[in-house]
Symmetry: C2
């Protein structure tokens, strides 16, 4: 058997494992694994630096299957290469309950999934984050410690998504020359021929953003190898257009959209066995082919040993810093500055916008956390996301810790996911809260993967004033509270802002979002000895004796609730004030705590946002004062009046309930 034949068989092993698993599951996407099997074979057997026996080796090359529907490509590779978390049984259980081999590759399910993919465009943008992380880590700790490539397989669908343009623009700008995108150029999309929907010259498009591009026959393994070799020595990121046939080998369906998202069927599969000369039963891989694959899976062991030695030989301080960065742990005593900030704010009754409070928190957090990386989608001086000591990350200055993402909210959030997934960084990024909508698919991916990213979302209500309804969030906080595994914070003053930053940084199993005011807010807390925000909600101001009413509020409206309490007191009505900076954390408290905080008296909630969702705390007998429509353009105080979100209105509603 010639080497060429063995290589072809190795690719066919991917094809049949993939097509047979889809057939057995009666569900899945065979077209892409069949089309890209040759490219994947070349990449994994000749180039990718990895060790199947140590999947999380820190300096491994990253591989991202951006076209996540082709998940069986990844699972086939995992089994063939000898990854212990993808057994043949797992392959046979593709898409079944409790299998690791989920419909789309899921981070944490199989070690080969560096990130969860499926929603198109996310993978390629995460990969920009991986490649950026690599370059930034290398700048900090040296090439001896960090020196790897990031490879992506992306389809036409990925490249049509707007987020991919943001990713391509950023990668070109940052000169991420160790990022290599293998485009599955098969001319087919789900509706049919890609020409139905696009006429772009992808080569010209990538080149316009500062990339190299190459084109090869994606079924000519040596040509693919030569292209990857060229790409690896480039000073720019490289896109390799791999011309392939979707569903390669399927006798009647190859080259059509019919192979994309449905099992091929028994007849077509039998014909494919004939056509490709593969007499083996489903899930049966001939010994020579499996050995060759297993050898490929083990070939990185030497490189890993060399890396171990290099890292062991690093100067002690560099090694310690590098290990600490990779661990993700927060250094001992990192929060001392926050404690001091809170005490000072209480002593000085500091009145600032919570976006400013956030910047004050960052001024003490950033020096204490070397792994933190900030940024903004071109609203740095509005979001107040930068501190005096931060240095910009720029194409030729990768040692910085502040990223100018440009007006690319979606790309920012997805690159942040890549930075967090890579290891070595805790990313935060800012924009206006209203523009979380632009970033929402990537925020969801962070929540689904359970990774630590922090969103600094300012101008969080009609309180932003004159910019008007296009810029005033109304439904955004509710819509984010509805998202699983995302902590949504809306702090009321400097103390709560510092508390929420602390919780966000300590929350290593999911993203956190801070909704911050544009307008100044008084310091409401007089004690910061306990992080009360960590309970999600707490009694800011209790009544003397039984409550007549409980006022619930978050963020900028806690001040209004406090004023309403005073108005009510003058009328002989006893009102407690509950600050609720984080619903998710409150809902996780024991019933007894929640009952004690909410009390038995009628409840009035106030928030200058959509009232949607508040019934959970007010019940049907309570009241919610907030927004039921869009905002308007005018100075903030006029808008609070216009929409009736005032201490007077809260007091009047509370009195009405008390008297009812």
């Amino acid at each position: 058997m010639t080497m060429q034949t063995l290589n072809a068989k190795m690719a066919n092993a991917i094809r049949f494992l993939s097509a047979d698993a889809v057939q057995k599951a009666k569900s899945g996407h065979p077209g892409m694994p069949l089309g890209m099997a040759d490219v994947a074979t070349v990449l994994f057997t000749r180039f990718l630096k990895f060790d199947a026996s140590a999947p999380r080796w820190a300096d491994r090359d990253r591989f991202v299957l951006s076209a996540g529907h082709g998940s069986m490509l990844l699972y086939s590779l995992g089994y063939l290469l000898g990854y212990s978390d993808i057994t043949l049984d797992e392959v046979k259980n593709f898409r079944q309950l409790n299998a690791r081999t989920a419909g789309h590759p899921e981070y944490g399910h199989v070690s080969l999934a560096e990130t969860t993919t499926g929603p198109l465009g996310q993978g390629i943008t995460n990969a920009v984050g991986f490649a950026l992380a690599e370059k930034m880590l290398a700048a900090r700790y040296g090439k001896a410690a960090v020196d790897h490539f990031t490879y992506v397989i992306a389809g036409d669908g990925c490249l049509m998504e707007g987020i991919s343009q943001e990713a391509i623009a950023m990668a070109g700008h940052w000169k991420l020359n160790k990022l290599i995108v293998l485009w599955d150029d098969n001319s087919i999309c789900i509706d049919g021929d890609v020409a139905l929907a696009t006429s772009e010259d992808q080569h010209a498009r990538f080149r316009a953003a500062g990339w190299n591009t190459l084109a090869v026959d994606g079924h000519d393994q040596d040509a693919v190898a030569a292209a990857i070799e060229t790409a690896r020595s480039s000073d720019k990121p490289t896109m390799i257009a791999c011309k392939t046939v979707i569903g390669f080998g399927a006798p009647t369906l190859a080259g059509t959209e019919k192979t994309h998202g449905a099992p091929l069927g028994d007849t077509e599969l039998a014909g494919m066995r004939d056509k490709l000369g593969w007499p083996h039963a489903p899930f049966e891989i001939p010994e020579d082919v499996l050995s060759a694959w297993r050898a490929a899976g083990a070939r990185g062991a030497a490189a890993r040993a060399e890396w171990d030695a290099r890292v062991a030989a690093l100067p002690a301080d560099v090694k310690a810093a590098f290990d600490a960065a990779l661990s993700g742990a927060l250094p001992q005593g990192w929060d001392a500055g926050l404690t001091a900030l809170k005490e000072k704010a209480i002593a000085e009754k500091t009145k600032v916008a919570t976006r400013k409070a956030s910047q004050m928190a960052l001024e003490v957090i950033v020096p204490a956390l070397p792994t933190i990386v900030g940024g903004s989608a071109d609203l740095t001086h509005s979001n107040l996301t930068v501190t005096k000591d931060m240095k910009s990350v720029l194409p030729d200055a990768m040692g910085g810790n502040y990223i100018h993402y440009g007006v690319r909210e979606h790309g920012m959030a997805s690159v942040m996911n890549g930075l967090a997934l890579h290891g070595g960084f805790i990313p935060y990024g800012g924009t206006f809260l209203v523009f979380t909508d632009y970033a929402r698919p990537a925020i969801r991916m962070a929540a689904l993967m359970g990774i630590r990213t922090i969103y600094v979302m300012t101008h969080d209500s009609i309180g932003l004033g004159e910019d008007g309804p296009t810029h005033q969030p109304v439904e955004h906080v509710a819509s984010l509270r509805a998202m699983p595994n995302l902590l949504v914070f809306r702090p009321a003053d400097v103390v709560e802002t510092a508390e929420c930053w602390q919780i966000s940084l300590e929350n290593a199993t999911g993203p956190s979002l801070l909704a911050l005011s544009r307008q100044n807010l008084p310091c409401l807390r007089d004690d910061a000895s306990v992080n009360l925000s960590a309970k999600g909600a707490y009694v800011l101001s209790e009544t003397d004796g039984a409550r007549d009413v409980t006022l619930l509020a978050s963020g900028s409206e806690v001040e209004i609730a406090v004023k309403a309490r005073d108005l009510l007191a003058a009328r002989g009505v006893k009102a407690a004030v509950v600050s609720m900076p984080c619903w998710e954390l409150f809902d996780a408290q024991p019933v007894a705590y929640r009952k004690a905080v909410l009390g038995d008296a009628p409840r009035v909630a106030v928030e200058a946002l959509s009232t949607f969702g508040w019934d959970r705390y007010t019940g049907l007998d309570g009241a919610v004062i907030g927004m039921t429509g869009f905002g308007a353009s005018a100075p903030a105080e006029k808008l609070y009046e216009l929409f009736g979100i005032t201490a007077d209105a809260v007091a009047a509603k509370a009195e009405e309930l008390v008297k009812a």
Copy 2:
């Protein structure tokens, strides 16, 4: 005075009105109006086809200020050109409560705002919709009726957004040669020099997508005119890079990001008066300059008269169809097919997925509504958005009524906004419900503007099964219900699906979204004489005598509620079943109706989605059965079991409440 000088003064009139209004408002964005004043002067005085006395003239050229923060440019133009809805008082009241001159241009506030802009990238994509609408209408009714250009002013921010790439790709693909984008190429973004965040060659990028590009000095009015002249005769869309100085004329701040989003200040303004030779007081426009502008505002009257004559001379049937299309009204009896569909479904107990039911509805709607235009973001055969008679809209076949948007959910929704705003079309478009996240900023714009767009969002729960959590919506319906002015429908069977389509089409003051199942659902209704979905919720199945419990459900879970009712009946518990296809419509019903539907008995809600928001109907004493985390990859029925969303679980919870 030479002509040149007058032109320069006309541009300066824009500059001073804009800068003085921002100064008076103590808020706003002077940089862009100052930078683009020359370009705008050329466009509005020499090219744009419009008539200030008839702002809604159907064949006017469309002008979109995609960089919506430069709203004072538009308001200055409006006043100078003599639009009656922008008086000098309105200019002086910029950004104040109840002024038409909102912080960002708002559709419906001033006639010059063809669309609401501000969230970057939306305007340029709406403009693609305008230009597409023009081409499609011309194909249907002839160039005598429809023949206009669409002009856009876009900044660096717009072009960095991913959605702009989707827009550029679509415009190039469709060869929208009457679309002309004037790029305010000022090299400044909010963080500072655009080089902080981008290194793209914009010319190459546009050309890669099939555009022409030109470059001019944006302060040389004759050069700008020559470029626009060239662009107008192109067979491709054209991008003209207008090299400008942001804040042109500001003596110390011009060319810096400091002019972008804050008043210049009195000193800078005084210096600008010196520098530009403008001795006039704020809001004072010299008579010669104002007359020249007013003449420009009136110069389109002749063209409009000619158009009137051409349309009057159209063949009667063409004219009637054209007038009907522009009116937006639904033809008499258009819904007869829906009535027949409902009756047939009841008679035959049709069991289909609601996505299929939607296609069955479209089969009878499309032939009855010539203005409907369908499409999908490359999921046509999954969304079932196409009907047998529809024809694809393709670059050289603009007479069709089905658009292949490609994998561009955001671009699709924003182009749909453009189609709806232009007039002549009712657009609908499909993708998976989970990907509403990608389109959310554009859906919000439709809701804010109150325009008729219809989203066909299929695979609406864990019921999609094997594709897993990346593709399973959980929080999406809640997050959409939180959005003002959007009707969110989740029909339970064929009858409700037909009813919801009818309401969506008749809802001319806002967008509607249909959340539809992948899986088959039985026909639950036995009477379709009244559109019960129009009340938002209704009693599908009442008890004989007083209710012990009320079961609330929407969509695919109504079937589960009905089964739970039967289980409960066997145990002697009387349960009513309420179907709630649309919360927004239910909330708009009179209190008495709502009380009667919800009843006094304990309530259990069931929905295979986030439980977020249901407390509004169940109260704190009721129960909600649904999702509290992300889904998983497995066959649908296994997932319903796994997450406990079953008739057994509903019945058990109901019994528990009844016995409590």
